[in-house]
């Protein structure tokens, strides 16, 4: 077996050295009737070529984003990732290393985490960022728990523009931990009165911008109201690239910012792995979940980096920890950091403008399809269409025509009574031909 270096002779020699007769002598603590004697009902070993065939066949049954006019977003976005990124993250020293608990031989990981934290803080306009969470949705869940800790209150208010998956994650967690959640109704046109929902029991209010419908939200007044009531504003986003073009939550009064970082450096991957971004104001740093990398010096006075403030964490604090998180999204952070380094703010801003321009062009083109209404006013690279038909059926019909035309909102929230809404995203990968194909197909489907 190609992965196992021991030969039968090795095994015999080693058993002798250990002083037992047979391998199962080492499994003596397993109750005899529980020790398996027959192989499990699974196929035997396969060579590389066979594995490639099996998985290649499965992969071939999926329609890839690059192979069709593609406009699917709603929390994950198709962007072009430079080849440098994937090359570097596959380097043995990054790919096959562990959490940097031995900092002397993990400065590579630690320095990029420090760079990552700095980048995320800059992007969000916040004081500090951690070394990542699993994804945007779990980061949002952790943010609510953190707000509860900070405020010592247990009621979260969720905007109706929050991605329903994010809301579900928060609600599940809150239900389990015995906290309360007030979720405002779905809000396609961003005209909800979230301010009215904030009271003195509120620990936090969670608002997403761009919201799930694509609307850009001004958080300033919500922050003021929240702060006036002793509550925190948690700002969320699912498209980090928007921060190249729109005002960051930190500049609008957010106390905690969470979001999905997938768009920078990471592939779609059918939903994961992604990278959750988590940033906060300096004063809350000791209540943050997750790993933090900090600067220090070594015994010779040279600058170096270590994981720090670990007394917040589960491996030290156990049941008093700020979170149970252990593994995070290390390698996805690295991908993020490399891509962001390549971009720099100049590249990020330009790329964001390309995204926005493509989305504007698409919105204008789709608005010309009879029966279609673009209901999103201010947006980044995603907006909502109101259709004269059931959006889910339209999406299926578009797929039959070779266009992946977006996400029916009803797929995210079947009970929201928004079956005619279609979320449509456009990024730098879309061409004029893609847009024309979408318009033509939509006309046919609706016609």
């Amino acid at each position: 077996m190609r992965y196992l270096p021991l030969s039968p002779d090795d095994r015999s020699e080693m058993l002798a050295k250990i002083g037992v007769d047979a391998i199962d002598d080492l499994f003596a603590d397993v109750p005899a009737d529980k020790l398996l004697t027959e192989p499990l009902d699974l196929p035997r070993r396969k060579g590389e070529m066979e594995v490639e065939r099996i998985l290649g066949r499965m992969a071939g049954r999926n329609v890839t984003a690059s192979s069709v006019p593609f406009f699917v977003g709603a929390g994950a976005y198709k962007h072009h990732v430079p080849a440098t990124v994937d090359h570097v993250i596959q380097r043995s020293e990054f790919l096959t290393s562990y959490t940097p608990y031995q900092p002397e031989i993990a400065q590579g990981t630690l320095q990029y985490l420090f760079e990552f934290q700095t980048q995320v803080a800059a992007l969000t306009g916040m004081d500090v960022a951690n070394a990542s969470m699993y994804d945007g949705s779990t980061a949002a869940g952790e943010a609510v728990l953190m707000a509860h800790r900070v405020t010592r209150r247990g009621k979260a208010v969720l905007s109706g523009g929050l991605h329903p998956h994010y809301a579900d994650v928060i609600e599940t967690l809150s239900h389990m931990s015995g906290d309360r959640v007030v979720s405002l109704p779905a809000d396609p046109r961003a005209d909800e009165d979230i301010i009215a929902a904030i009271d003195d029991e509120t620990s936090c209010v969670v608002v997403q911008t761009p919201d799930v419908f694509g609307n850009l939200r001004d958080l300033t007044k919500i922050a003021e109201k929240a702060h006036a009531h002793g509550a925190l504003l948690i700002a969320a986003f699912t498209e980090v690239m928007s921060l190249g073009l729109i005002k960051p939550p930190g500049a609008m009064g957010a106390d905690i910012v969470v979001g999905e970082g997938q768009s920078i450096g990471n592939s779609l991957n059918f939903g994961g792995p992604y990278v959750g971004l988590f940033a906060a104001r300096q004063k809350f740093v000791r209540q943050m979940p997750g790993r933090l990398c900090g600067e220090t010096v070594d015994a010779e006075g040279k600058r170096g980096f270590v994981l720090t403030l670990s007394t917040r964490e589960q491996h030290i604090r156990r049941d008093k920890a700020t979170s149970n998180i252990c593994t995070n999204s290390g390698l996805c952070c690295l991908a993020f950091t490399i891509h962001m380094t390549l971009l720099g703010q100049t590249g990020l801003q330009r790329l964001a403008r390309v995204n926005h321009a493509n989305a504007v062009a698409l919105a204008d083109a789709l608005a010309g399809v009879p029966g279609v209404e673009v209901i999103t006013g201010a947006f980044f690279n995603e907006f909502t269409l109101k259709l004269p038909k059931d959006a889910a059926a339209v999406v299926e019909a578009l797929a039959d025509k070779g266009v992946l035309g977006g996400v029916p909102y009803s797929r995210l929230a079947p009970d929201a009574d928004c079956d005619d809404l279609l979320l449509v995203a456009s990024t730098e990968v879309n061409t004029d031909d893609d847009r024309a194909a979408f318009v033509a197909a939509l006309k046919e489907v609706l016609g």
Binding site: L36, R44, I105
Partner: protein
Amino acid sequence: QEEALIFESGRYETTGVDFDEPENFSPRLGGLAREGDIGLPGLSEPETMRHFVRLSQKNYGIDTGLFPLGSCTMKHNARLNERMARLPGFADVHPLQPVSSVQGALELMDELSRYLVTLTGMTSVALSPKAGAHGELCGMMAIKAAIDAKGEGETRRTVLVPESAHGTNPATAALIGFKVRTVPADTDGTVRVQAVKDLIGPDTAAIMLTNPNTCGLFEPEIVEIARALHDAGAYFYCDGANFNAIVGKARPGDLGVDAMHINLHKTFSTPHGGGGPGSGPVVLSQRLAPFAPVPFVTPGAEGLILVEHEKDADEKPFGRITAFHGQMGMYVRALAYMLSHGSDGMKQASEDAVLNANYIRAGLRDLMSQPFGDKPCMHEALFDDSWLKDTGVSTLDFAKAMIDEGYHPMTVYFPLVAHGAMLVEPTESESKSSLDLFIASMRDLAQAAKRGESERFAQAPFHAPRRRLDETRAARQPILKWTPPEPMREAAE
């Protein structure tokens, strides 16, 4: 040469990505345009490449040497698996595409589930947890949901956790409102059924027990412990971090486990990647299966279906724990591992992992001390620091000295039940000659410690990208991001 931070070497106007500026469009940003510098310098592509390659050279990985980190399972990461995960049919697919366009992806999830269920002897699996601790959370939520469904939510509020447990166990239990009671370990490092029974009461919701445990020992009374819990109406959560020792040798389902997470990045060798991403599917017994969260894959009339909402499920999902469907990229890698090994290879891998650990144990037992006596271990060998008594060398010193020998240290000071613990897990990926070399190096170090060559230890490492780092300073005045130097202010002071 020191490697500057990108914030020191980069410039705001530099970019290593070429796009043309879009022409002739009217922004529709509603007055929310960002203004001013973001604070993100860029580097050209050659500079970027060199920066990160040079950073990587300051790291240690499995590919560069033996990585005996106990409990972490640093085994070989096959590049076949990386290649498979990058097939466009897996990597370039959106989680919210029409399910008709992702049947191969659902097939992969279904096949992975079949493997996991077969290997563990359980009823079903919740794939979506993003890492081990997330899997613990998922499993304990399922237990809580089951308790609630029985109307015992108000009474069953206590979770038993052995003192040797991973920190994630009590943290998870506490996160969703359980009280944690610690189960003492026996003198042999395992948990006695009597110790559990002594703590079981009507308030007991579950136990969270690692098996093989964090001392590297198979819990000999595990079946009795499970029965005791079940008899009391409580559940058995098994921390599956060490499942890699028994794959193909024993099935948790046969032992009475109700829920167990599987670290795909340990047992099934998806890369650790310097701290993630992981993946932590949870296998569930028949009692808990109905409560598995959304989403999950199930057969439908025209192919596989993805159940994404509680109302679409026949059972009683307790909710959702993450956006989308989990760590697809890790599923692909794990299934590639399983297909490659097959049932025969996975069993052999477990045996080799256990054999390698015992071989190290046998090679060092005369010099180093085993806290629970000289008896076989599973996939990791535990030593304590009693053999270092009066040498002036601490476990930490010893670990740092290993770096100078070219090795990554073992896990130290965990589990807490062994004083100055050193937990060595070689995994099945090491050859006998590699182990022989490691043993020889450890013996050399151990003898040096006993000879009193303390300066070799106290200051170690000498031959690493950095000497020992000041962690206290880092924690006292945390510097968590780069800030521009302020020469003016400094000059004024």
